[in-house]
């Protein structure tokens, strides 16, 4: 057994030494979600890809720690804030204009350092046995109403929730954000570790409504089709209608600029965009690719106008969350 293992190790070492240098990707996106897509990239371009999978914030911290010695060529991140943080630290290089222009200006870096590949809308998920959609407020700000006391769930340590609070601060100001946090806190929401846990709890009937990203519902329904949970979209333009993106950036100092650019471009091709739409139930960001049937179109969701790079400014948000006792 041991000998066989050593042999495999040796073989893998020598084979990587012989082949052309593969493209190294740090992926904050899950292997189950993007693994098949990366395989398609290799099939199509002949470029081998090595992937380190991990949590987006931890990979971002690792990339910051590695600095210019990083083995990574590309960062495929779960949210724009992480890409913004790396951009601010001077770790990303500009993408070609042709790639950037494929995507609506709201969903890419204004300085061209990263581009969104798929969209993820904030929604209110609710238990269909306990809540009727008509009872839900038009604005996320409506959840401070006392009638929601003891019925809500959220995940305040979760990056996507914090991105939403940052957006709320940027759009309505710190005071309004504080008032909202205090108002919802007064309704004694249950606290969960992440979006998936909120959706699970909704299924159990532990809570009536929760603040999550739109696609967790579809993942949960894969395990249990009868889950009594549905998504509700607040009115267009509301901070609660924020669409954040998973996106891609090329690391400063990579020796494989061409291949890295091909990778970024590939994620915006119709095939990849359709994959996001069908397999992960995310929003395609390139015009002309159809949104999954269960979802309202991106135009209808109406994400508020905001530079998503600024979502990396989370220190103020974390302080606000701590001052209001949410964290």
């Amino acid at each position: 057994m041991m000998r066989k293992l050593l042999l495999t190790l040796l073989l893998s070492v020598s084979s990587t030494a012989l082949a052309a240098e593969p493209l190294t990707v740090y992926s904050g996106r899950n292997e189950k979600l993007v693994g098949p897509l990366l395989k398609k990239f290799t099939e199509k371009t002949g470029i081998e890809v090595k992937v380190r999978y991990g949590e987006t914030p931890q990979l971002a911290a690792t990339l910051l720690e590695e600095g210019d010695k990083t083995p990574a060529d590309v960062f495929f991140a779960q949210d724009a804030g992480a890409l913004g943080a790396l951009g601010n630290a001077g770790r990303l290089q500009a993408l070609p204009k042709a790639t950037l222009d494929k995507v609506d200006a709201r969903f890419r870096s204004p300085t061209g350092l990263w581009v969104g590949a798929s969209g993820r809308a904030r929604v209110v998920a609710y238990n269909t046995k306990k809540v009727k959609p008509a009872d839900l407020p038009k604005s996320i700000l409506g959840f401070t109403d006392a009638k929601w006391k003891g019925r809500l769930g959220w995940a305040p340590t979760n990056a996507s929730f914090q991105s939403f609070v940052t957006a709320l601060r940027l759009l309505k100001g710190d005071e309004a954000a504080t008032a909202w946090l205090k108002g919802v806190k007064a309704n004694e929401p249950r606290v969960y570790k992440n979006n998936a846990a909120v959706v699970e709890a909704l299924g159990r009937g532990e809570i009536d409504a929760g603040f999550v990203n739109h696609y967790y519902l579809y993942a949960a329904k894969k395990s249990n089709a009868e889950l009594p949970v549905a998504n509700y979209f607040v009115a267009a333009g509301d901070p609660g209608a924020l669409v954040n993106v998973a996106g891609v950036g090329i690391l400063q100092g990579t020796k494989q600029v061409d291949n890295a650019r091909k990778f970024a471009a590939f994620l915006l091709e119709p095939e990849a965009q359709a994959y996001f739409s069908q397999e992960t139930h995310e929003y395609p960001l390139v015009a002309g690719v159809k949104t999954a049937e269960a979802l309202p179109t991106l135009a209808k969701v109406g994400s508020p106008d905001l530079d998503l790079s600024k979502l990396d400014d989370l220190r103020g948000t974390v302080k606000l969350l701590q001052d209001t006792g949410v964290l």
Partner: protein
């Protein structure tokens, strides 16, 4: 008895200690970048509140873990309890249960619509709330008592029966003899196990987050989760290092300077087991109850998930299982090897320096694992680029993280070993390496085995360092489980999690069967 340690021993000890202190150095470098605003964040009342809550939880969990572990350790080493070895293995398994599973079990049992709701409502009783302190206490006690269990077992196995028999022959009742003789001799083992439990609680993030208990480690994690703010996180981390240092100093006071080894002539015999008689039924009930909560429940939940999802795509578990075993075994062996010089220096050559070196090995233990992983990234890209991205880097990370588990057990085993045995062998003309191989190592075996078992079990489920430092494409069962649960695909997590627990149980089983009738000094 202060002698100068041999140079090679001191040098190897210093190298291990330097590695162990790395996370603190890293935090120092990052914290040095802090401006006044960031320091102000640290000195807020909120920070102190967090600190007290965290320490309170650590003390409570340690006490509860001791109440569970002591009777179990005694029952499985000193009595004729039926199926002692089987129980020992099962009682260690909770250490290998991934946190997300144990947390989910609690929620599925006590949560709304949970298992307890219906039976309790029939009696008109409300379901006790699992959130906050009680839930965190329960979850952490179940997942950490094996630290104490293994440490106490090793301590009990290494004891010389002559003492207990002496006390009994002088007319002490069995109970009195236990508290007057056995228990005091267990002090080093107890303190080392308790230290691991307490410090683990300081570092734990999973349980406190899931059960909504606001603790220090959670505050650190929040910074890395969303804020990309390494400076503030470093300050919080350093605060935790300071707390750890205080605990370590306190422990030195507690452990005292007594000798714990036998000094009489002759060799120790094997204990004749206490006959439990009718008491074996409540004893079995106790073992059964702990195993039910710590092992059967999580396995049940996993099987339920697996069956519910009917494991659509049953990907091969071979590669990740091999990866887990390879990395964990290397981590366990390397940690025990690293622990040996530190423990030897501290026990055989006591002094300020050697004591400090042994203490330092605990510094990183109370830090959230993500901090540790980042400190190794920091070291790797700067000082060890040739190791960075290889399996060696991951093993190094396991050593830094799990070293205290090995140091504690090796140290308490060494304390119970009479130095004159080794000295006698040396005086008969044996070289130091022969003395170690033929005299010391066999006598230390229970301690070394317990240390290796602890590291193996915890390395099997290690995640943050494995994700960031393993060679790209290197999969373990833990990363598989993580990959499936991160997106809420619980059904796909079931199989790798069950395989992980089975291999862990198998590993402990092997070690326990080795433990057998080791000679004692």
């Amino acid at each position: 008895m202060t002698r100068r340690p041999p140079g090679w021993l001191l040098v190897s000890g210093l190298m291990v200690a330097a590695l162990a202190v790395l996370p603190a150095v890293y935090l120092g470098v990052r914290a040095a970048e802090a401006d006044a605003d960031t320091w102000a964040l640290l000195w807020r009342d909120k920070t102190w509140g967090l600190l007290w809550r965290t320490l309170g939880l650590a003390v409570a969990v340690t006490v509860c873990a001791a109440l569970v572990a002591l009777p179990l350790a005694w029952l499985t080493t000193r009595t004729d309890l039926p199926g002692r070895r089987g129980w020992t293995v099962l009682l260690c398994v909770p250490l290998a249960v991934p946190t997300f599973v144990s947390g989910y079990v609690l929620l599925a049992t006590f949560g709304n619509g949970g298992v307890l709701e219906e039976p309790l409502s029939r009696w008109g009783l409300p379901v006790p709330s699992v959130y906050g302190f009680p839930g965190a206490l329960l979850a952490l006690t179940v997942s950490t008592y094996p630290y104490l269990f293994l440490a106490l077992r090793a301590g009990l196995l290494a004891q010389d029966p002559a003492w207990l028999e002496g006390a009994r022959s002088l007319g002490m009742s069995p109970a009195r003899a236990f508290w007057k003789v056995t228990a005091p001799l267990l002090r080093p083992a107890f303190v080392s196990g308790a230290l691991l439990v307490g410090l683990y609680v300081l570092s734990d993030f999973g349980a406190v987050a899931l059960l909504q208990y606001d603790a220090f480690s959670r505050a650190i994690y929040v910074q890395y989760e969303g804020a990309y703010d390494r400076t503030y996180a470093a300050l919080l981390g350093l605060a935790l290092v300071v707390v750890t240092a205080a605990v370590l100093v306190l422990e030195v006071r507690l452990r005292g300077r007594a000798g714990y080894h036998r000094s009489a002539k002759g060799a120790a015999r094997v204990f004749s087991p206490v006959s439990l008689g009718r008491w074996r039924w409540p004893a079995l009930l106790l073992c059964g109850a702990v195993v039910a909560v710590g092992v059967v429940l999580p396995v049940g939940v996993l099987v339920y998930w697996g069956v519910r999802g009917l494991v659509g795509e049953s990907a091969s578990m071979m590669a990740p299982a091999l990866g887990s075993v390879l990395a964990s075994v290397l981590g366990a062996v390397a940690s025990v090897l690293g622990a040996l010089p530190l423990a030897f220096l501290a026990v055989r050559y006591p002094g300020r320096l050697t004591l400090a070196m042994e203490r330092v090995s605990y510094v990183g233990y109370a830090l959230p694992p993500i901090v540790l992983a980042l400190s190794l990234v920091f070291l790797g890209v700067r000082a060890l680029p040739f190791l960075y991205g290889t399996l060696a880097m991951l093993v190094l990370a396991y050593v830094v993280r799990f070293l205290p588990q090995a140091v504690g057990t090796v140290r308490s085993a060494l304390l119970q070993l009479n130095p004159h045995l080794a000295e006698a062998a040396a005086s008969l003309g044996q070289s130091p390496s022969t003395v170690f191989r033929r005299v010391t190592a066999p006598l230390l075996r229970p301690g070394l085995m317990a240390g290796a078992a602890l590291v193996f079990l915890t390395a099997m489920k290690e995640l943050p360092a494995t994700l960031l430092l393993a060679p790209i494409g290197f999969e373990t069962l833990a990363t598989r489980v993580w990959g499936a649960t991160a997106e809420g695909r619980f059904a796909e997590a079931a199989l790798p999690a069950l395989v992980l627990m089975a291999i862990s149980a198998l590993g402990v089983g092997l070690l326990v069967s080795q433990e057998g009738d080791a000679p004692r000094g």
